[in-house]
């Protein structure tokens, strides 16, 4: 047994092993540097785990409170609540005497761990909390801070698995070209926001992993003829994702796209058996989801979050949704009613700012240049991918496309309107989706490449549709915002594949340089991000 494990470990590619070691170090740094409960909703998610473990059952409508006395005392002592949105004025308590005093107090008279209720996150599915209950249980002897950081460090495992899933995804899409696998694995784990969320006590950590796994398995289903174990695994991962966060209902789109693509790619004689295999696997997805919905209803909970209606609520209409959608991505036209009350283009703030890294409780920003420079890069990447998937007829046409994009982007920069570069990115992404649909309706030339494109576009479309629908309904009913950049992290694998696709099209001599540049940029952003967080909270 041990010999088998050693032999298998010996077969792990050295570049993957080095990447995993690198990711583990950076993950541990994030886990320890971020102050207690200074990630979005981390306090409420921690309370869920504590309720689950201490009471033996998940939070339900019968609970009245969210936090236990133990958590409330710890949060008040460290200043977690006061500092959540105001780290400049109210950083974490760094008084050594306060820390010693806290330790003496909890040692002499521990506060109750079991009088919480986790009620504010009670409607969430339970899978992530079950996962995080393990470190909570393992570290029972120390303070609540020991348990919180044990859960954070446990999250580094998710980050490593996300790296592995990205590596496998690239291996499936590009073949075993380790430089591309390295790039995709690194991007999935080392985009600063991805690392930050993966080590947090937050279901998004598990969601990033499960979606990346689903992308890998979906690619396998398409490229390997829907083998039984692949379709079952894809359905199981999709079910786990839905049991982690309701956003994952968006995974139904890529799952069905993968099944449909595998069926269409199969030889005519095998289509029936392919369909049977897929239909037989579907209960693996459907049964756990239906079971969760039934259990949630039995506990008096909604299976998805309800949106309350505020006094200034708007009617939810299709034209209203289209207005909102336009104004999310593009400048508002004069005849349009205002659908978002913000002074900036939401796509820039969501994709380019929060997608790269806005830490703490969306309260600690990177230096402006980090957002503007990467924001300028994204249209070039998206247009580059569009050119490749649309099979630009000649190198000249492709160069012209990229050149025009560069000129427009530089003009936007000169005019101080970098945010509109994100509109260009969004238009290019829409173009890629259009290409995938056009290839679907064409009768000829639909092969694995087009099937993969359709599948990946379905993942992007499924997630964005769900997010935008939620954002619009919440805006219309409660006049408040919902969209955050971290919600895009489940499709970080698609973004990584886009970068790898461009690297793959470079001349062979230039590829190591491009991979090196990618890794340098990621590590540079990581160092800047960690320094920014350390400075914001502790200096």
């Amino acid at each position: 047994m041990a010999a088998t494990v050693t032999a298998r470990l010996g077969r792990v590619p050295k570049s993957l092993a080095a990447l995993l070691a690198l990711v583990t170090i950076i993950g541990c740094a994030w886990a320890l540097v971020v102050p207690p409960w200074q990630v979005t909703d981390e306090n409420a998610h921690f309370a869920y785990v504590q309720t689950l473990v201490e009471s033996g059952s998940p939070p339900s409508a019968k609970h009245k409170r969210t936090y236990s006395s133990e958590q409330r005392l710890a949060a008040a002592t460290v200043g977690a609540e006061a500092g959540r949105f105001y780290p400049a004025a109210a950083p974490p308590n760094w008084s050594e005497s306060a820390w010693r005093s806290y330790l003496r107090r909890v040692d002499a008279q521990p506060e109750s761990r079991s009088d919480g209720g986790g009620v504010s996150t009670a409607t969430n599915p339970p899978l992530f909390y079950l996962y995080d209950a393990i470190p909570y249980l393992l570290d029972q002897g120390g303070t609540i801070f020991g348990q919180l950081y044990a859960m954070r460090i446990w999250g580094v495992l998710l980050l490593d698995l996300t790296t592995l899933a990205g590596w496998l995804l690239a291996g499936e899409v590009f073949g075993r070209r380790q430089s591309l696998q390295l790039a995709v694995g690194a991007i999935c784990a080392l985009m600063p926001m991805s690392t930050f969320m993966s080590m947090a006590v937050n279901p998004d950590a598990l969601l990033i992993l499960l979606w990346t796994c689903a992308l890998w398995l979906g690619a396998r289903v398409i490229l390997r003829g829907a083998q039984r174990r692949d379709v079952v695994a894809l359905c199981a991962v999709a079910a786990c994702a839905v049991l982690t966060k309701a956003t994952s209902y968006g995974l139904l789109f890529p799952v069905l796209a993968a099944f449909g693509a595998a069926w269409r790619l199969a030889p005519a004689a095998e289509r029936r058996s392919t369909l049977v295999r897929e239909l037989k696997a579907l209960p693996v997805l459907v049964i756990p989801v239906v079971a969760w919905i039934v259990v949630a209803k039995a506990n008096g909970l909604a299976a998805v979050n309800n949106v309350g209606t505020g006094p200034k609520a708007l009617a939810v209409t299709l034209p209203g949704f289209l207005d909102y959608l336009w104004q999310f991505y593009l400048p508002r036209l004069p005849f349009m009613p205002i659908a978002k009350l913000q002074g900036y283009l939401p796509v820039f703030f969501t994709w380019s700012v929060q997608g790269i890294g806005k830490f703490g409780v969306v309260s600690v920003s990177l230096p402006d240049w980090a957002y503007s420079e990467t924001g300028l890069l994204s249209p070039a990447l998206a247009v580059g991918v569009l050119g490749i998937v649309a099979r630009a007829k000649s190198r000249r046409a492709f160069t012209l496309l990229l050149g025009t994009t560069a000129v427009v982007v530089l003009a936007l920069r000169a005019a101080g309107q970098v945010q509109y570069a994100s509109s260009l990115t969004a238009l290019a992404v829409a173009g890629i989706m259009l290409v995938s649909l056009v290839s679907l309706v064409r009768r000829r030339g639909w092969a694995e490449r087009e099937a993969l494109l359709l599948f990946l576009c379905a993942a992007v479309f499924g997630l964005l549709l769900l997010l935008h629908a939620s954002d619009y309904v919440i805006y219309a009913r409660a006049r408040t915002g919902f969209m955050e950049g971290r919600y895009l992290l489940p499709i970080v694998g698609v973004f990584a594949l886009g970068v790898a696709l461009i690297i793959a099209k470079l001349p062979a001599q230039a590829r190591p340089m491009a991979v090196g540049l990618t890794l340098t940029a990621l590590l540079g952003l990581q160092f800047v991000s960690l320094a920014t967080v350390l400075h914001a909270y502790y200096l």
Binding site: P13, K14, S15, L16, A18, L19, A21, I25, C28, A29, L32, V33, P35, P36, A74, A76, T77, V78, G79, A82, G83, F85, Y86, A88, A89, A90, P91, N93, W94, S95, E96, A98, W99, D139, G142, F145, G146, Y149, A150, Q178, Q181, L182, A508, Q509, P512, M513, V515, G516, L517, L519, T520, L523, G524, L530, A531, L534, H535, Y537, Y538, L539
Partner: protein, 232 residues
């Protein structure tokens, strides 16, 4: 590209990036000596010619030269004075003027005090505006327990003290790590952050190794494929 040279581009880029980060990390900036743990959420007091607003007790583990307030200034030429007195207000210890921007623009505002307030001395910090109104922002008392004198129910304005001079990030790492080691698991001390820093620097050679290994593997596969193609 050969195995020997595969790591070179990354190493070059990484060294350049590291140099840029080092230069950036050596730039000076303010470092907080203390915070009262009060967020700047809403207006909690107004300082004007007739009303001074005092808050205490304030005790800092480090000496501080400046204080930062959050608020909105309304009025003509600003003349906001801040001073620190011994707890109880009997002895004036330090005083300074707030550097205000345009009226109506929300702070933070910084006042440099002379002389520096020593560490571990309990003081009150007072604010008065000789010509207009400064709406001070804050909330309920934070973890330090300081509050506006006479406020009922107790309120506190957000207040942060700054150490004298400018400090680079790299030069302040020891302070940051010792602060970050509090409210952590019992086994975590400042040493853990120093170790992490060393390991983080180790990610650069790890990255170079990963790229070299990946390129070598691809070259090996390419040569084995081309070798087998030439076989009869």
């Amino acid at each position: 590209m050969t195995r020997q040279r595969a790591w070179a581009p990354f190493s070059g880029f990484a060294l350049l990036a590291l140099a840029a980060l080092l230069i950036s990390g050596l730039r000076g900036g303010p470092v907080r000596a203390f915070s009262l743990g009060v967020p700047n959420i809403k207006t909690v007091a107004v300082a004007d010619p007739r009303r001074q607003v005092c808050e205490g007790p304030v005790r800092s583990q480090e000496a501080f030269q400046s204080v930062v307030l959050w608020g909105t200034y309304v009025g003509g030429k600003p003349q906001v004075r801040v001073w620190a007195t011994s707890q109880g207000g009997r002895t004036l210890m330090s005083t300074g003027l707030v550097e205000l921007s345009s009226p109506g623009v929300a702070g933070p505002y910084t006042a440099t005090l002379k002389p520096e307030v020593a560490r571990d001395v309990q003081v009150s910090v007072c604010v008065v505006d000789a010509s207009g109104k400064l709406r001070l922002q804050g909330y309920n008392p934070g973890y330090a327990g300081a509050a506006i004198v006479g406020s009922t129910p107790r309120k506190a304005f957000a207040l942060v003290g700054l150490e004298s001079g400018e400090h680079s990030l790299l030069g302040s790492l020891s302070l940051a790590f010792s602060r970050a080691s509090l409210f952590r698991p019992s086994w975590v001390g400042a040493w853990a952050f120093w170790l992490l820093l060393v390991l983080l620097l180790g990610t650069l050679p790890l990255g170079a190794f990963a790229i070299a290994a990946a390129i070598r593997s691809e070259n090996d596969e390419d040569s084995s494929v081309s070798g087998s193609e030439h076989e009869p």
